[in-house]
Every structure is written in C-alpha cells, then in structure tokens.
C-alpha cells in the first residue's frame, strides 16, 4: 500500500469529513458543474472507502486508538468531538463506505436526467458523512449529533420527490417516528451525563462497571437508549415509517435499509452493550422486542404485494433478528448479520429499482418472468435472496447460524423455537418475492423490458459477489484470525453445534421449498389459503392496522390537543382573560361617566365638599 506508514487510524476522521465537505461543495458549487456536481460525493466516498483499508491495516497492526478536540468547555464541563477507532467502528466504516459508494455509483445511472440530482447526491453525502461520524463517535453527545443528522439525511432523501404527496408524507412520518425515539435517546444521554459527569462512552462504562451509578439509573438509561434504537432501527411499534419510506428513489431505500438509518439503531445498542449488560431486564427487553419484530414483520412480508414494501418488511424482520442477537449477548453475530444483511439488502433494493425503472411497475404480480429480459438483475437478485434466506455458503447462512447459537446459549429454548420458525418464514417470503418477480411466464406488457446500463449493473454484481463471499469471514483464517466473533468482540473462535446448524439449514431449505411449491409449480395454492383464513389475511394485508391506529391517535388525540389548546388560548386566555379585563374596564367606565353631569353647580358642590372634607381630615386627624 502506498503511504502505508503515514496514514493510520488517526486519519479515520477524514472519512466522514470528506463526505461532509462534499455535501457543502455540492450544495454551493454543484450548479456550476457537470451533472450538478454529482461526482463530488461519489469521489469523496470512494476516497473514504480507500482510506478505510489504511485505517483497517493500521488498526490490525497497532490496535484501537481514539482522538478528540474540544468543542465547548465551560467551567468544569468539557464537550469534545472525538473519534474512536476500534474493531466495531472499523467494521461499520467498511460496510458504510462500501455500500454507500456502490449505491451512489448506481444512482449515477438511476437518477440520470433528474432535474435536481445535485441536491440528491448532496443529501447522499450528508447521510454517509453523518453515519460515518456516528460509528466513529467516542462520546454520546457527538453520537447523538451524528444520529440526528442521519435522520435528517434520510428525511431529505425519502422526500426527494417532494412533489408527490406520498413521498412528502413518508419523509415526515420517518422523521417524526424516529424523533420520538430520539427524545428518549437524548434524555438517556443527559441522564448518563448527570450521573457520570461525562459524555465519553468508555468513561461511562468505567463508572457504571465500578458501581458509580445506581442500578435504577442504569436500567432507565438503557431503556431510554433502546427507545432511540427502536425508532431508528424500526422495531415494533416504531416500524411504521420504514415501509412508507420506499416512496423515495430506490437507491435511497438501498442506502437507508442497509448502511445508514436502520443500521444506526443496531449499532447504538452494540456500542452501548457493556451498559446494557449491566441491566439484565433491559437485555431481555431487547431480545423480546427483537424476536417479536422478527416474527411480526416476517408474516407481513409474506403478504405484501408491493415489491419494495415486501422488501421493507423483510428489513424490519432482519433488524428484529439483529436485536434478538444483541439481546442474547451475541454482539459478533449481530454485527455480522448487519454486514451480511446490509450487503444483500442493498443489492435487493438496487435490483428492485432496476426492475421498477424498466417496467414502471411496483406490484409483484404485475411482474414475472423478468429473468429472460434482465439476466444480470435476476441472477444478482437470486443471490441476494438466497443469502437472506440462509442458503449456504452465502453470507446469511453463517450469520444466522451464529445468532441461533447465541440465542440457544443465552435465551433458552422458547426463544430459539420461535426464532427458528420465523427463520423458515423469512426463507419462504424471500422465495416468494424472487420467484414471482423473475420466474414464470413473462407478462405481455413487460415485453419491452431490458437490462439496465453498466453503471447500474456493475454495483449489483459487486454487491452480489460480496454477498456470496462475505460469509467466509465467519471462519477462522489462521492463528491471528479466529473468526469474526473473535475479531470483533473476543467471543472465542468460530464454533457451531452440528444439530443446530443442520436444523437451521433444513428449515431454510423447507421455507424455500414451500415457496417453490407455492409460487413456481402451484402445488400449494396461496389463493386458497388466503380465502380460508380470510379474516387473518385481511388483518395482515392491512399491516395489522398499526398504521390506522397511529393515524387515529394523531387525528383524534395529538391534533385535537393542538386545536384545543389553540382554541383555549384564543377563547379563554385571550378573549376572556385579556379582552375580558379590557371590557370590564370599559363597562365600568360607561357607568362611572354618568358622574360627569355637565352642570356647573354639581362640580362646584363636589369641589366645596372636597375642600371641607380635606379641612376636616387635617383638623381632626393630622392636627
């Protein structure tokens, strides 16, 4: 590597800084440049991806490091911008730079001819910069800042086509839903600051582990932090924003479903895991929420007929799986799955974008047989789907196996049984999506479909290749590398239980087989099943009415409260309290003015009586 000696971990901050600079440059100067400056963010993230390898190399040779500069210092309070380079953050750096790079390159093709594409790429740069800063943050405040900026980036990207009412609403929904979690996160962070006197993550761990904070505070803080993670990572009941977020351009979905927005929540829990581990109840909560989300979203993914919506529920489901893994103390497994899922899901969304761009359709039943017209997209899509379904030797197989192992070790059989069933379910819905969209007869009005240009297919192929191979980082590669779990969190070398692996694999294959029989050969009729359980089917198709419930609450509680207070302020405080007192003065004046008769002798009498009165007072009282 050139410059290998001079560029090391201390350069890590440059990676987000490059994208941040690209954001400002594109916004300010983009309009004077070809393609509105779209190449600046791509170049910045490419440089970031290159730098990532230098940082990784230095990390492996010299170990973790951290650096900070003071931002605000006030009395004895010091707030710093700090960077912490350890194995977790470098893993995330790799994932984020890689996926963001490919997504941006793909966007060069996807967004060709779009009128405001300079702004689009700038928002990509902002998202990437924020996420990269988030994974590098060494203190919670800096993390929160990056966290909120990730949300802003997603808001801008989801709402990019703001002329469409759906996109504008989806962006708003994403921001507000995650904002609810953010409120919890901020309260949690400040609570930890008040009890430890520091935002610094390692200091907080140190104080917490040495018993410097009460157990109650730790539990409350961990729950609040988890609230933030639930919002960003779309855990039930905050999942509603993610399916709507597919209203944005497809590459945007690819980015926020894999590397930025939803990864932030999982990363937060992973980063703060030492704190969570001090609160066993919260760990159980994390596992429970994760498991429920895993199952819940999986069933919904099975009935969605909109391609991107189905993929979105699949994302939610897999995020649930990651949370379950974290709740089962499986840090390495969770991050491994985050990487494996991120690569595959980015690819699936890019593939879906390629399909909808060519056919102009979003419903999966309107597609079909597209493998004949779009071979590259089809092959890569199949690889991505298989990876997520857990077919060996693709990445998803290894990560899922590791998670099941962690669940079995730390959460017991009940969790394991449900998780395994849901895993089979995820294989089934993946098979459904892949088979319905790319196999079967080609629809007549899709005859004109064609493969996308190279600038879009090359990222697909690269992602597919990664999805194929990244699983092997789970395996030991010699004495210095004992598997990913050991690399990331010193969890010991790669190991597996034969029966559990076999069972996982069998269930995955069973899921795929069921999908094949249903959606390819037609041995099982999904229509009949839907008719037989029509009540349940209706509930599922309507996404369990969660959205409707929230809408009702917003309309009848939140907005009603707003209208009520606004009315109260006007009618009670202003018109009654303020204008009322003014009116009282006026009315009393109307009565009192009758004293002014206009007759001289009345005034004269009053004056005389006044004088007499004054004299009497002077004489009797004062003298």
């Amino acid at each position: 590597m050139p410059f290998g000696e001079t560029i090391g971990t201390e350069w890590a901050w440059v990676i987000p800084a490059l994208s941040a600079a690209a954001f400002f440059l594109t916004v300010i100067f983009g309009r004077f440049l070809p393609r509105q400056g779209a190449y600046i963010p791509v170049a910045a993230i490419f440089l970031g991806f290159v730098l990532f390898w230098y940082v990784l190399r230095d990390l492996l040779t010299s170990g973790p490091a951290s650096f900070d500069i003071t931002w605000i210092s006030l009395g004895d309070t010091r707030i710093a911008w700090g960077v912490n380079v350890d194995r977790l953050s470098v893993t995330m750096l790799g994932l984020v730079t890689f996926v963001a790079l490919l997504v941006q390159v793909y966007s060069l093709g996807y967004m060709k001819g779009e009128p405001r594409q300079g702004w689009y790429f700038a928002a990509h740069a902002l998202s990437a910069a924020a996420m990269l800063a988030l994974v590098l943050a060494d203190n919670l405040l800096f993390l929160y800042i990056a966290w909120a900026l990730v949300g802003l980036g997603s808001y801008l990207l989801i709402g990019f086509w703001y002329e469409r009412r759906e996109a504008a609403e989806a962006a708003k929904k994403a921001f507000i839903t995650t904002r609810i979690g953010d409120v919890g996160l901020l309260i949690g962070i400040i609570l930890l600051f008040e009890s430890t006197g520091s935002f610094d993550i390692s200091t907080i761990f140190h104080v917490a582990q040495s018993g410097g904070i009460s157990q109650g505070t730790i539990t409350v803080a961990a729950v609040l932090l988890f609230l933030g993670a639930m919002g960003k990572s779309a855990q039930f009941p905050f999942h509603v924003w993610l399916p709507d977020a597919v209203e944005g351009p497809a590459p945007v979905s690819a980015l926020i479903h894999s590397a930025t927005m939803v990864a932030a929540g999982v990363f937060l829990v992973a980063r703060m895991l030492p704190l969570f581990e001090l609160a066993p109840g919260v760990m159980l909560l994390v596992a429970g929420v994760g498991l429920f989300t895993f199952v819940f979203a999986g069933t919904l993914a099975l009935v969605m007929t909109d391609l991107k919506r189905a993929l979105a529920y699949s994302t939610i489901s897999h995020l649930g799986l990651m949370m379950l893994s974290l709740g089962a103390f499986g840090l390495g497994a969770a991050i491994f799955h985050l990487v494996a899922h991120g690569v595959s899901k980015a690819m699936l969304f890019l593939g879906a974008g390629s399909v909808t761009r060519v056919t102009g359709k979003t419903e999966i039943w309107d597609m079909g047989g597209l493998r004949r017209r779009m071979p590259v997209t089809a092959i890569t899509f199949v690889i991505g789907g298989a990876a997520l379904a857990g077919i060996p030797p693709l990445s998803g197989f290894f990560s899922r196996d590791a998670i099941m192992l962690a669940v079995m070790d730390n959460r017991g059989p009940a969790f394991l049984v449900v998780a395994l069933a849901a895993a089979a379910l995820s294989a089934l819905y993946m098979a459904r999506i892949v088979l319905v969209v790319f196999f079967g007869p080609l629809k007549a009005d899709n005859e004109h479909a064609h493969e996308s240009p190279l600038v879009m297919t090359v990222p697909l192929v690269l992602l597919a290749f990664t999805a194929l191979t990244v699983g092997f980082i789970a395996l030991p590669w010699g004495a210095s590398y004992q598997g990913f779990g050991d690399f990331l969190a010193d969890e010991g070398g790669f190991h597996f239980e034969v029966w559990l692996t076999a069972l996982t694999l069998a269930l995955a294959l069973a899921g795929v087989a069921a999908g094949w029989l249903t959606y390819r050969t037609g041995h099982i009729s999904h229509g009949q099943i839907a008719r037989r359980y029509s009540g349940l089917y209706r509930v599922l198709v309507n996404e369990c009415y969660v959205d409707d419930l929230y809408q009702w609450v917003v309309d009848h509680v939140v907005l009603a409260a707003g209208n009520f207070v606004a009315l109260y302020d006007r009618v009670v405080i202003n018109d009654t309290g303020v204008d009322g007192s003014a009116l009282t003065v006026m009315l009393s004046a109307l009565r009192l003015r009758h004293v002014q008769t206009g007759h001289l002798y009345n005034y004269g009498l009053a004056m005389s009586l006044g004088v007499v009165g004054l004299v009497l007072v002077w004489w009797l009282v004062l003298a």
């Binding site: 507000i176 707003g562 309290g577």
Partner: protein, 508 residues
Amino acid sequence: METFNSYVIFAIVSLPLAGAVVLVLLPSYRPRLIRWVATVVALATVLLTFYTFGFYDPEEGGFQFMRQWSWLELPGPWPLGEQGISFALGVDGISALMLMLSGIVMFTGVLVSWNIAERNKDFFILYFLLLAGVFGVFASMDLFFLFFFYELAVLPMYLLIGVWGSTTDFRTFVRTKEYGAMKLTIYLVGGSVLIWIALLAIFVQAGLGTFSFVDLQESADFPRTFQQVFFPFLMVGFGVLAGMWPFHTWSPDGHVAAPTAVSMVHAGVLMKLGAYGILRLGIGLFPEGAQDWMPVLVVLGTVNVIYGAVSAMGQRDLKYVVGYSGVSHMGYVLMGLATLDHLGVTGAVLQMFSHGVMTALFFAVVGAIYDRTHTRDIAVLEGLAKRMGVTASLFAVGGLTSLGMPGLSGVVAELLVFLGLFKTYPLLGVLGIVGAGITAVYILRLMAKVFFGALGERWRDQTDISRLEGFSSWVLVAFVFLVGLFPFPFIRAIDSGVSTLLSRMAGA
C-alpha cells in the same frame, strides 16, 4: 484606538437616532434615497456591533468599552460620594452578544423593508427610534437610562404596527392591526409600570443615590424579604416582554398584525429585552430573591415550552405558528435562567441569540411568502417548493434549527439548558426535551403541507424570493450555522458575563 473604543457603544446607540434625524430632513418623495440612507446607517451600525463583539475580551470579563456622562446630580451626602444619574454605557459578554443580535436583525430588517411603498420615510424613522431604544437597553449601565430606552423601544411599535400592519380575517374571528398594536402597547407599558416600581424601590432601599448598575450590585445590600417582594415585579414586568405564560397573547397577535421587519425585531430582539432584564436586573441585583422565586419561573417556562408548542400545532396561519413557536422557544430561555446554573444560564443566553436569529429568518421568509401569495393560510398554500425553492430551503433551515437539528444553532443552546435543568429540575428537563419533540411535529407538518406535495393551481405563476430578501435571509442562515458549528466564541463571551452574575449566588 482607546478613544474609538470608548465611543463605539455611544456610536451604536446614537447612529440609529442620527439616522432618524437625517431621514426627517430628507424629502419624502425620494423613496430610493431614503432606502439607501437607511441601509447605510444600518450597515454602519451592524459593523460597529460586530466590532464590539469581536473585540470584547472575555478573558478580562466585566464591563468594557465604558463611557459615561453625568446627566443629573442628586444633592445630598451619599455613602459613595457625589452621585446622580449618569448616561453610562458599556457592555459585558452578554450585552455585547445581544447588541450584535440587534444589529443583525436591524440590518436584515432594513433589507426586507425595501419594498415598503407607503410612507417609507416615516417607517424608517420609527424603525430607527425603536432600534435606538433596543441598543440603549442593552448598552446602558445605568438603570434609569435602561428604563428610558426601554420605553423608547416600546412606543414606536404602536405606530409601526398600527400604520404599516395588516388586518386579517380568520373567518371565525378578526384581528385588526389596531387591536394588535393596542394590545401590545398596553401589555408592554403595563410591564414597564411594574419595572419602574421595582427600580424606584431599588433606588430608595439602596440609599446610594445612584442608579448605576455596577455600584448597586457591588455596594447595595438588599434584605432578603425586600428581594422576595420586589423580584416578582421584575420577573413579571420583564416576563411580559419575554412572552411569559399567561402574559404571552400580545406576542402572537402582535406578530400577525405587524409588518415583516417589525415582526423580526419584535420576536428577534424585543422579546429578548425581557429575558435580558430578568437576568441583568432580577438575577443580578436580587440573587436571593431569584433563588426563592425560581421554582415558579421554571414551571412557567415549562408551561411556555409545552403550551406554545401544542398551540402552534393547532394554528392555521403561518405567522401564528411562528409566533407560538416563539412563545415555546422563549420558554427554554426562561427555564435556562431559572436553573441559576452555569450551564443553564449560559444556554439561556445563547438561546436568546439563536432564537433571535432563527425567528428573524422565519419572519423574513413568511413575509416573503405573504408578499407574493397574499395569504398566510396553511390550508390554501400547497407545494410551494416547486416555484419557491430558495424560500423553501430558507424556511427549512429555520425549521430544522427550531426543532433542534445539530449543526444549527438551536441544539447547542437547548442542550446547555437541558444539562442545567437536569442538575436542578430533572423532571421539567424531560418535559423540555418532549417539547422539542413536539416542535418537530408542527414544523414538519407545516413544511409538508405548505412546501411539499403537488403545486396548488393558484400558485402556478408564483415567483421566488428576490435577491435582496434572499441575501438578508442568507446572512441570518450564516449565523445559524456559525453558532451551530463553532459555538465556542459565543459561549466564552456569555460565560464571562454569566460567571459574574452567578458568583453572587448564595452557596456559589
């Protein structure tokens, strides 16, 4: 340089007055000339305020750039020798920042007032009188002149709103400009009565024969009961101006009636006078009274935050939304002051600056929209971003600042306030953060409705904000970013002032 430094504050206060005098002499049939003169005066003033803030030395702290002229000598032997009322000017870190805020808002306000066609000479004269009053309050070190300038700032508002304002029919009720102007004036004059009572009580009780703030703070000894009785006079008197619940209704109604530049000054600077008064006079002179009354103020501040935010959610007029959002944000200032904690008070002052710039930006943008569409009804405006891209971006910056997006000014100030609150009133701190969450709801709903979605038919031929208005708004945006990214110079200056004020707290 020494001479220049000792006259710079005097120049800041007197430039608007001199500008007003020059404008009186200009013929009213030359509106272009009048505009240019006004712009030049405002530019000179704002540059001087930059100079003051830039060369204020926070390491040294205390009052700097001081200069005083004796105005009235009071006969009689006084403990500190010859005394009287003097025209004493000077700034500490807090007031230097506030002067800069007023300068920025003044300058941008003049720029957005370029399109005032009717009687623009009279408008600028009154506008400059108003600003002279504002500068005078922030720069006065003598309570008598502080009060004098305070009154000077209040009265031109009446004419500015009554003559150049707008009457709005909201179908279920009507708000005339006369109503808005009248209510505002009565409220503020009512507040000033309370303040005047307190000032006279301070003068008599201290027995020093002086209104000098520094002398009173250092040499006067106010018994605790005296402080307890008279602190509320200052708290409510200045609190009215700061939009303290339940004395806030003059503020949204005043905004709705006022012309753009006056809304900017009103929300951006005038409301800060109230908070400044509570801090400088209330906390500065009555530290013990403040300690006893702060639980009340912090509760009122919390009510402000939540009540203002929820109220803003239910409004249908753009200016009402921004007005109630101002009530909500001033709540953070009051909460921060009420903590009496180093971080909290510093955050409150920074919030004063941040909100001043942000709300000026809001009103500039809303004014630009109103000038073009002739409506502020949220239900009617739709999809404006398509035709008014720059306007939408500017509003978005304001909106994101107000909901606490990092990188913009609001979050730094609010964070410091929250840190202070969690030390003193943690539960109310939680409510404060929840209030910031509600802010996100109404701002984003507003943006989604007004700017996004398909372009409404009526607005097909809408034009974007003009270059001049755009420039003035970008100036404000620049400060929003500056404070958001590099808050330290600001915090250092505020800190030097706050430390002095808080050092007199019992137990500090």
